[in-house]
């Protein structure tokens, strides 16, 4: 019997397929297409302290094998989230990873206090790929010091029970050094990668297509960047749990990230083109692993790093 289970630090999951934050709505929207309990876990869209309208439209542009978005973290804020979204997910029996996002270091601390000790919540993804309003809008995870500050605040306030995963932006000169920094600051694991900063210009209006001008590039176009980031970080930090994501649309794509070092794989943009993507990937990946002779999922994690002689 193939053992599909995986570990993300203290969290044990029956399978390694998650949804990516911001790509599965509140869960309700997807539940028509498959039972959420079939997922390793559902990762919620990043929740902030206050309700948030998000950015003006247009918020989206399709690009070759990818898309650009500038949703701007639209959401109901932590109060309504805990009142509505979480209880509904709990009622489904889903395993939940809550994603939190702040505009200040203090936001992260407050959010951490709100999300500890919730039934079914098996982990917290700390989205630090957001603009820091206290520092000229610089993205937290793009600077070692702000990345560290955000994670330290979450760690200190969340208690020791629940694993936290720092979600990093690939838009940095050296992702390994940021990864080291947040792990030293108390992250139990990492989520790699968030979207890549991009822009599309509408050749008819001759202006940026998104109201916000720049947006985050996702989808298969960025998969080679995700694989590289995961591989580099896995090579440097051999034991840290990694949630991998970026352009996974098939079981073979998921396998690429896993061989590079991901302990679990989040499916983001692929769900937009295919509501059943996560389930298709789950079954394709299982088949691919069995075909390759693996008996346990965990043996495939980081397998591309094995010595040449093996």
């Amino acid at each position: 019997m193939f053992d599909y289970s995986t570990n993300l630090g203290k969290a044990q999951l029956p399978n390694p397929i998650l949804t990516a934050s911001g790509c599965a709505g509140s869960g309700k929207e997807l539940s028509q297409f498959f039972p959420l309990t079939e997922l390793g876990a559902i990762v919620t869209k990043s929740i902030m302290l206050k309700p948030r309208s998000g950015r003006a439209t247009p918020r989206m542009a399709e690009t070759p094998s990818g898309m650009l978005n500038s949703i701007g973290l639209q959401g109901p804020g932590i109060d309504l989230f805990l009142e509505n979204d979480i209880p509904w997910l709990q009622s489904q029996g889903a395993r939940i990873i809550v994603s939190i996002a702040g505009e200040t270091v203090e936001d992260y601390a407050s959010l951490a206090r709100r999300v500890r000790n919730l039934p079914n919540v098996i982990g917290v993804e700390v989205n630090i790929s957001c603009p820091n309003v206290e520092n000229r809008g610089m993205v937290f995870s793009c600077q070692p010091d702000t990345a560290r500050a955000a994670i330290e605040n979450v760690r200190r306030n969340i208690g020791g029970e629940i694993p936290i995963f720092a979600k990093l932006s690939p838009d940095v000169t050296d992702i390994v050094s940021i990864a080291r920094e947040v792990v030293n600051a108390g992250a139990d694991g990492l989520a790699l990668i968030n979207t890549v900063l991009g822009m599309v210009i509408d050749v008819n209006t001759m202006r940026p297509k998104l109201a916000q001008k720049t947006g985050g590039l996702s989808g298969p176009a960025i998969r080679p960047i995700a694989v590289r980031a995961i591989y580099q970080v896995r090579a440097a930090l051999q034991k840290v749990p990694i949630i991998g994501m970026g352009g996974v649309a098939s079981g073979k794509d998921a396998l690429e990230l896993i061989l590079a070092g991901a302990n679990a794989v989040s499916v983001g943009t692929a769900t937009f083109g295919n509501p059943g993507a996560a389930m298709q990937i789950k079954s394709e990946l299982e088949t691919a692993l069995i075909e390759r002779g693996f008996e346990n999922f965990v043996d495939a994690v980081g397998y591309a790093h094995r010595m040449e002689t093996q």
């Binding site: 599965a24 929207e29 309208s53 998000g54 070759p64 639209q74």
Partner: protein, 284 residues
């Protein structure tokens, strides 16, 4: 499970007819379940470009007509404009080819419980969902005045059999090549006054819908508008397709046109908000 996307399925749908009509393709897909459950105003989302496509997002199409019977079982009809890469790919498919389809999606037009005097206004392929609506309204004893507008004659989609369910039909074109020279909004006031209309149903470009709303406001009419924003997912998970919508509580929220729409109460939409979040929007 929840009420969102409650009737939606993901399925493989066979093309059983594909005919060029004017600037459009009228396409029929054999798809039992969607044929049976779709309501006027719903849409479907179709994968485009084949297995190695660089287009990763589905394209949304309003359902023109749906039926749970027919020689090939249930089916739906679409009216597709070959516009960019995705729609050109779709309209060029041969008979019996299958496409990956998700539907029915979105809200549908509200049907009055009592016979009412209605005006249906469509711009370009926006006429598509109106014919199915007209059929239902007609069977409910409603008066159905239809106004279709486009840039030129070839872009008016108004098939003969569709006109059967319509009490009157007015055509407008920007260049005067068919019907009245002008826009649908130019033709509306006279029609409303003559027929003492009560409800406007509309589907078309945002600017048209906005113009209709100001006419609806002037005459105090109910306006159900089918709103088309660029959609990445069509099922409510991505938040790309939003418009500002005033809720029953008076609060404006950025609302998804794919699940809270495409049919929305026109008087609740904050029009002309491209590029801005209106003052007072929740969470601004």
């Amino acid at each position: 499970m929840s009420a969102i996307n409650a009737r939606a399925i993901q399925t493989s749908a066979e093309i059983i007819s594909n005919k060029k009509i004017g600037a459009y393709h009228h396409m029929v897909f054999a798809v039992d379940s969607i044929g049976a459950t779709a309501r006027p105003g719903n849409f479907v989302a179709i994968s485009v470009g084949g297995p190695s496509s660089s287009m990763i997002l589905r394209r949304a199409f309003a359902i023109y007509r749906a039926s749970d019977k027919g020689s090939a079982g249930g089916h739906i009809e679409l009216v597709v404009a070959p516009h960019g890469q995705g729609s050109k790919w779709l309209t060029s498919l041969p008979l019996h080819e299958k496409v990956d389809m998700v539907g029915p999606l979105g809200t549908s037009f509200g049907i009055p419980t009592q016979p009412a005097r209605t005006i249906l206004v469509g711009g370009g392929y926006g006429s598509a969902p109106l014919f199915g609506l007209a059929e239902i309204l007609k069977t409910r004893g409603c008066r159905v005045d239809m106004v279709l507008g486009a840039s030129s004659a070839g872009k008016i989609y108004a098939p003969l059999d569709g006109k059967r369910s319509v009490t009157s039909m007015t055509i407008t074109t920007d260049d005067g090549s068919a019907g009245l020279h002008g826009r649908v909004s130019d033709a509306l006031p006279k029609l409303i006054e003559e027929n003492d209309s009560e409800i406007i149903y509309s589907c078309g470009p945002m600017a048209m819908l906005e113009a209709i709303q100001s006419i609806a406001d002037r005459y105090g009419l109910v306006h159900q508008a089918s709103v088309e924003e660029s959609m990445a997912c069509g099922i409510g998970v991505c938040m790309t397709c939003v418009v500002p919508l005033r809720g029953d509580d008076g609060i404006v929220r950025m609302s998804r046109t794919c699940i809270d729409g495409p049919v929305m109460d026109g008087s609740s939409v904050v029009w002309n908000s491209k590029g801005i979040i209106p003052e007072g929007t929740w969470g601004l």
